[in-house]
């Protein structure tokens, strides 16, 4: 640990931050290796909160402290549309025990909270988050009296313990975390007092603010862990950890630990901060029961969630899952557009209705040509902006939209979401109109000549010019690819759509051996677009369109291939953007970065924000009418499942 740096950032924080008395100086791994959690402080009861009958019974039986003692000193007050009724069960399904399910976003609890547009709206688990003006250090204050679901206080110690014993533990993560790292330098985690911790960076690192509202700071899963519970499975704290792991069928403690770490595994009774915690996990179903210590109340002081439990049926087969959704076996679930007729037909019998939500994908499917192609002919063509523009003009987005999405999707270019603060409407219209004439003209200019009588253009070297699009099966319908193939064929560009194995595609692309690949264009919200390794426009992630250039830039010219000047400027701009020091600078540089990406058409979009019909069981209340669903909005996290309730809970037991 570099003490000089820590001292410096500490001073910066101390002078700039408007926070708290600092009770402990920054320490290293040692301090958190063997220290004990501080004893929980006594707290005066808050007052008149109400709780579910299920918990009231346990309180009466003396098995649980009263609700005032379970809630934090200042609970998070959530304003609900309608005050709900307690009780009942939500039904969902997963492919495997402990696996992901439609509503699992509700189990993400981060330091801050976002809205359905992917913007930060307020502190959540932490009640205050402060940043030094130069974005070097972030101070988080955990809600006083907030508890894990087993009643143990959640403190800054849990965060620091997680950082040193899990994230930075070379046995668990040999490569270390990449979330809290700028360049080669890890962030510095410091415990300031019992409930306050600070994350400091040597360089200004603005995306950390966004991290705090994302899955990367989901407590009890990818961030602060219940140290008191995890310690039993950690070899540094329990000499028998290996033995316990072997009893559970694992070869070593760290393997078992890895499974316990991420909440979406079939582990029961791990303390958590989510509205529901898993209490049973079998080969046929998982049961999640309300967390008696959940820190939210509604505006009238009723502790959330309203619904007692989640029952998640394990259904391995995708088609069977669909059949169950269409017969009303889940309380809320998505329906595939191509299968919508069954859902409409079955709605009365299955006792559900269909809501028209949208996907939060800026583009259902976007195509990225390999700008660092090893073949000089293809490299020259793919690097020609006119070629990419032509292919974008050649796509008949209206036809795709009308046929596959009933005209309800947006015929937009792939770019970031209009909800982003620095958004520019010019980006969504960039080469997004169908213009085969222009496409042909541009392709002629590129030098891809048409030979009379032949359906496809020849390459600039006069040879056959065929591009292979490698793809994995995705959420978008396969027919979309067929439309694009036809449209490009119309313009004389021969394309082969080749479905491959997931790993094979990545292996191929990482080596820079693909012509073109495609993926859905999600993660376009304010937060996601700003996380360097998350955005789909990252040159060496997911779409792998400029692996060698990126390598050159980040190895400072030691390896890779030198990018053209405008791309070097773009990489510089991105680096400057991630360390932007003011909102104005952030917006100005953000605009610059996305202006370049959008107008360079590195990702050629099709249609975006596609309609997503969702089935909602009759009698389920507080379900929003309009939602943008997706990874970027963290699925169910953004629409607050804890506020759902049944109009007649007794009928949904």
């Amino acid at each position: 640990m570099d003490n000089r740096v820590s001292r410096r950032s500490f001073l910066q924080c101390a002078t700039a931050a408007s926070l708290v008395t600092i009770s402990s100086l920054p320490g290293g791994a040692e301090q958190y290796a063997h220290a004990q959690a501080e004893p929980p402080t006594a707290r005066k009861p808050g007052g008149k909160y109400r709780e579910a009958p299920m918990l009231a019974a346990r309180v009466a039986a003396g098995k649980l402290p009263p609700v005032e003692e379970r809630l934090p000193a200042v609970p998070f007050v959530r304003h609900v549309a309608q005050i709900g009724r307690y009780g009942g069960t939500l039904y969902d399904q997963a492919e495997s025990p402990g696996g992901r399910f439609h509503l699992d976003g509700a189990l993400i609890v981060a330091a801050q909270e976002t809205d359905n547009g992917g913007r930060i709206i307020r502190p959540h688990l932490c009640d205050s988050v402060t940043v030094t003006p130069d974005f070097h250090a972030y101070t988080f204050h955990i809600r006083e009296g907030l508890k894990w679901s087993d009643g143990v206080d959640l403190t800054a110690y849990d965060v620091l313990w997680w950082w040193w014993n899990e994230a930075r533990n070379p046995t668990i993560f040999p490569e270390g975390p990449r979330t809290f790292k700028v360049g080669d330098e890890y962030a510095e985690f410091t415990q300031l007092d019992r409930l306050t911790f600070r994350i400091g960076f040597r360089e200004p690192f603005r995306p950390c603010l966004n991290l705090s509202a994302s899955e990367y700071m989901a407590f009890g899963s990818y961030f602060g862990q219940p140290a008191h519970w995890m310690k039993q499975y950690h070899a540094a704290f329990n000499p028998d950890a290996d033995k316990i792991a072997r009893q559970h069928g694992f070869a070593a403690w760290y393997q078992y630990y890895m499974m316990l770490r991420d909440y979406m595994h079939p582990v029961i009774n791990k303390p958590h901060v989510a509205p529901w915690v898993r209490v049973a996990s079998t080969t046929t179903h998982d049961i999640y029961e309300r967390n008696p210590y959940f820190f939210e109340v509604d505006q009238e002081g009723n502790q959330l969630p309203y619904i007692d439990r989640l029952y998640v049926q394990v259904v391995e087969d995708e088609r069977l899952q669909e059949a169950r959704r269409s017969t009303g076996s889940v309380s809320e679930g998505i329906c595939d557009m191509s299968q919508i007729s069954i859902f409409t037909k079955n709605a009365p019998r299955g006792h559900y209705s269909i809501r028209h939500w949208r996907l939060a994908d800026g583009s259902e499917c976007m195509f990225a040509f390999n700008l660092n192609h090893k073949d000089p002919v293809k490299r020259k063509v793919y690097n020609d902006l006119r070629f990419r523009q032509a292919l974008s003009y050649a796509i008949d987005r209206r036809r795709i939209n009308q046929t596959l999405y009933f005209g309800q999707a947006k015929e937009w270019q792939a770019t970031i979401s209009p909800t982003v603060s620095y958004f520019d409407p010019a980006w969504i219209n960039c080469c997004a109109q169908y213009d085969p004439g222009k496409a042909n003209q541009l392709l002629d200019e590129v030098g891809l000549a048409r030979v009379s009588g032949e359906p496809f253009r020849l390459g600039i070297d006069g040879q056959r010019f065929v591009s292979v699009v490698v793809f994995n099966k995705q959420n978008f319908p396969d027919e979309l690819l067929e439309f694009v193939r036809q449209d490009w064929a119309q313009a004389g560009i021969e394309v082969v759509m080749k479905e491959t194995d997931f790993r094979y595609r990545e292996w191929l692309c990482r080596a820079g051996n693909q012509d073109c690949t495609c993926w859905n264009g999600d993660m376009v919200e304010e937060i996601a677009a700003y996380l360097p390794w998350v955005t789909k426009w990252n040159p060496q992630e997911v779409l792998f369109y400029a692996v060698d250039w990126w390598l050159w830039y980040y190895s400072q010219g030691k390896s890779g291939v030198k990018p053209p000047q405008d791309w070097i400027e773009q990489f510089d701009r991105m680096a400057a953007w991630y360390s932007a020091k003011s909102d104005a600078e952030y917006e100005q540089l953000g605009h610059g970065v996305w202006d370049f990406f959008s107008k360079q058409l590195v990702c050629i979009g099709t249609v975006g924000y596609a309609p997503q019909p969702v089935v909602v069981a009759d009698g389920l209340e507080n379900v929003p009418q309009n939602v943008h669903m997706g990874y970027g909005t963290m699925w169910a996290k953004s629409y607050f499942v804890q506020t759902y309730y049944w109009d007649t809970p007794e009928r949904h037991g």
């Binding site: 669909e322 059949a323 191509s338 007729s341 409409t344 012509d515 309609p611």
Partner: protein, 375 residues
């Protein structure tokens, strides 16, 4: 196995009470085959299938990839009477009412005006047998209306046309692999069993080596090795040939053991004494001796190949869209909506069933016929 010896003994089959008639082997086989009614029907059916395959683009009113706005249009009804008068085959125009609120399409039939079905019309261009450019189609209704005898798929492509054109690939490319397996199996197994000794030993060890090659890693290696720019069809053809080069071993071992048993028979010795060459004996006397078994083997392999077209898709090796084959079309039909709302997508299943049954009945008939003296 005694039938070939009986052929040489001539008078074994004598028309009762008539003059001596000696029937040739082929005549005997044909007589026996004709008595198997199902087999006769099957051979006609298969003949029809192959004719369809040969002239598919001409018989189909549309191109296999020609999209239209009529997504999931139900089969078009062909009428013959308009206002009570016979006017010949005609269809009505259909208007699509797309309802974004329910994500459903209603097809409203406009009965005000008939659209005649015309014969020998010009339509989507194609190359017959991949060579002769043409745009003639057996029938069509022009651009004024749409005729989807078997409905349309999600992209509004005509299912009838696609079903017809699918026969081309399903009934040819896959079967080449079966044929190669069959020929290799008979020849190599035949040589091994007939000569025995060192030849047998070498062939058997080689065969065991080939059998040992693990298939899944081989497919994966092929998936990586085959140039990505190859068309689906070319990849599939290559794979079937490569698979055939691996899968002859089973048949060849069966042939070998049969021949080991039969080569000591009197008729073989007789043939040898009469000066027949080794290969002559194998091909003319030994293999026909258990033709019935070989035919069964062949007719079981063919349906397996048709049904298995798409199984290798996940390695990127099987047939996938935009290639049109029965297997590919049936993949579209494997969902609940197809069963409940678009049952016409499952028509290729019926074609596969009919075709596979026809092959099996044909095989059954041939097996009986190959052994004309068996009751």
């Amino acid at each position: 196995m005694s039938s070939p010896t009986l052929v040489t003994s001539g008078p074994a089959v004598v028309a009762s009470g008539a003059e001596d008639v000696s029937w040739s082997q082929w005549r005997l086989i044909w007589a026996k085959f004709r008595s198997h009614k199902l087999a006769v029907v099957s051979i006609w059916l298969l003949g029809a299938f192959y004719l369809i395959a040969l002239f598919a683009q001409f018989l189909a009113p549309y191109g296999p990839w020609q999209p239209s706005p009529y997504a999931y249009a139900p089969p078009t009804r062909v009428h013959f009477f308009f206002n009570g008068r016979f006017v010949g085959p005609m269809v009505y125009r259909v208007k699509i009412q797309s309802n974004p609120a329910t994500f459903e399409r209603d097809f409203v039939i406009d009965k005000s005006q008939p659209v005649r079905v015309h014969w020998f019309v010009r339509g989507a261009g194609y190359r017959w047998l991949g060579l002769i450019p043409s745009d003639f189609h057996l029938f069509g209704v022009g651009a004024a209306a749409q005729i989807n005898l078997m409905g349309a798929d999600i992209l509004g492509r005509d299912c009838f046309s696609r079903d017809l054109i699918a026969t081309q690939i399903s009934l040819t490319v896959g079967l080449i692999g079966v044929f190669i397996t069959f020929v290799l199996g008979c020849l190599i197994g035949g040589a091994s069993g007939y000569y025995g000794g060192v030849v047998d030993n070498v062939v058997q060890r080689f065969m065991e080596f080939v059998t040992c090659l693990p298939t899944v890693p081989m497919w994966m290696a092929l998936g990586a090795a085959i140039p990505a720019s190859w068309s689906n069809l070319k990849v599939y053809f290559t794979i079937t040939v490569i698979l055939a080069l691996r899968s002859w071993t089973g048949l060849s071992r069966q042939v070998r053991s049969k021949l080991l048993e039969m080569r000591e028979e009197d008729f073989v010795v007789a043939a040898r004494v009469a000066g027949a060459t080794d290969w002559g004996i194998i091909l003319r006397h030994l293999l026909p001796g258990f033709a019935s078994y070989l035919i069964v083997n062949l007719t079981v392999e063919i349906p397996r190949m048709i049904l298995g077209e798409t199984t290798l898709s996940f390695f990127g090796l099987g047939l996938r869209p935009p290639t049109v084959s029965w297997g590919v079309l049936l993949q579209d039909a494997q969902n609940l909506a197809a069963i409940s709302s678009y049952p016409w997508l499952m028509f290729p299943a019926l074609m596969v069933v009919v075709c596979v049954l026809a092959f099996n009945f044909l095989g059954d008939g041939l097996r009986d016929a190959a052994d004309p003296f068996k009751e």
